[in-house]
């Protein structure tokens, strides 16, 4: 076994152990601790945004700017792919 593999395995194990430790400190599955932001969204999504779908209202209204970024990401990727596959003179 070469040196790189040993180092990689050790480091991998350390990071994995820390991740495993840390996830047990998150709230248990299905019981979120604080929910005030999300409850606010659910409670107000109909009268503020006039939308029945809470997720869509989050995506396009409350966090609409993220969605703009998301659309931009796709646009960027498309531009990148088109650029990579362009025909060079």
């Amino acid at each position: 076994m070469e040196k790189r593999t040993i180092v990689a395995v050790v480091v991998f194990a350390i990071v994995a152990v820390f991740f495993f430790f840390s996830i047990f400190l998150i709230h248990p599955f299905g019981k979120p601790g604080q929910v005030n932001m999300d409850d606010h969204i659910i409670a107000n999504t109909q009268n503020e945004t006039g939308t029945n779908n809470g997720v869509t209202s989050t995506v396009f209204d409350y966090r609409g700017f993220d969605t703009l970024g998301e659309a931009t990401i796709l646009f960027t990727a498309v531009a990148g792919v088109l650029m990579i596959f362009r025909r060079v003179k």
């Binding site: 400190l25 609409g64 703009l68 960027t76 650029m83 060079v88």
Partner: protein, 521 residues
Amino acid sequence: MNIIDVLIEQSPALIIAIPLLGAFLMPLVSRINSTLRNIFGLLVLCLTGFFVGILASDVLANGPRLYIFGAKDLAVPMVRILFEVDSMSIFMALITMVLAFIALIYSWSFMKDHDGLDKYYTLVLLLITSTFGMELTGDIFNFFVFLEISCIASCALIAFWISEGEALEAAFKYIVVSAIGALFVLFAIGMLYAQYNALNIATLANVLKYTFLDKIILVLLLVVLGMKAGLVPMHMWLPDSYGRAPPSVTLIIIGATLASFYGVLRVIFTLYGNVLSTTMRFSIPLNVLVGWILITLAIISIIVGVAMALVQSDFMRLIGFSAVTEVGYMFLAIGAGIAALGTPYATTALQGGILHLLNDALDIGLLFLVAGAVYYTTKKRSLDDTSGLARNMKYTTVFFVIGFLAVAGMPPLNGFASKFLIYESVYQLNPILSIVAILCSILMLAVFVKVFYAVFMGPELPAFKNVTEAPRSMLLAMGLVAALAIFIGLFPNLVIDALVKPAADALLNHAQYIGTVVGGI
């Protein structure tokens, strides 16, 4: 409520919206005419620059400014995305603006003979937008989104010269590294969200308790953003991609890298600002721990960067390694500022680091522009193949001299001003730090003297007998950067008073940042 107030109020949104709109329109515009496309790009940037300017004047005068997307005022839990522009953000935005403007001017001639330029300009505008977004945003997930945009746009631009396999290789390495990094950031954001049910930086900073999870989050954010900023030993993507991207693009990628550095500052000073000086474990305050971690990495960066630069034979790759060193200097200053938080020299170190950020962008950028000009005229990358260009390219030589003296920190150029502040503050933390910094600065001089010899001096090779000076727009771009470098070198205190000191104060005064949001309900 006159028109200028309205414009200032709306400018945070417009700074993002205008270049984005420009990017979306670019494929349509570039179908019409190529000159129109270039003019359109510059026009969009001018407009953006106008808004950045008025926003900067306002923020520097009146303190942080909020912009809430989608609503006029804040709801009680911070559900909406908001931009919080303080002096540090606007400082970064100004740097980005300058770099972007110069890159576009430079591209006018430099990119003339290439195809795929509509995509090029689109991606450049997108990269600029994402850099602005990272710098202005007050929402951590939004930061991640812009980080991703900048990753993807940078990657695509690095691969612009697709006929060179190395460019593709560099782009691939970059995207692998940054994609994984971004995913870890997302993981950290998820953990933050799980704990505090908030995504707003100020809100999070207000309630952050420094639990074990917060430690994990801090490490994740620090390491990823440090990697994106180019800290050794996670720097390896940086010379690859800097060395293979078109130089005009490299200029903007430097801006994006600096935005990652800004992310580090934001995470440490604002997100963890409350707990930074109050938390104590084993009688070591958190700020000392974090500061020394950064200092260690920074010292390694400085040494490795300059040592590797010394043996490079590719012009742009060499500058890439020296960029690693410069990043090391910034981290050194910031680390010292964090480790000694509260002392006067910590403030000096912070100011030095922030000023060095500006200088790094200008100097490394100028060197890349020169390297691009050399590549443009000779089509050679290797230092072994070029020689004696100073005979025919006088202006380029002068700009190169200015650039390399600035990077090496020779008086009276701008690099010296910031390094001066760094040396004269970090030695108070530990003298070794200053010594290493000085030494590596002189090694940097050696590196660039080698380049100076190899490219501009030496015998005149017959292949370069008929080399002509770079085109006018490239000279203009280089001249602008050089003029800025000289200006900052000659009047460093003006720049510090006007921009750097407010920025450093904004970083240190995290209570104001938090209070603008949390107190402003």
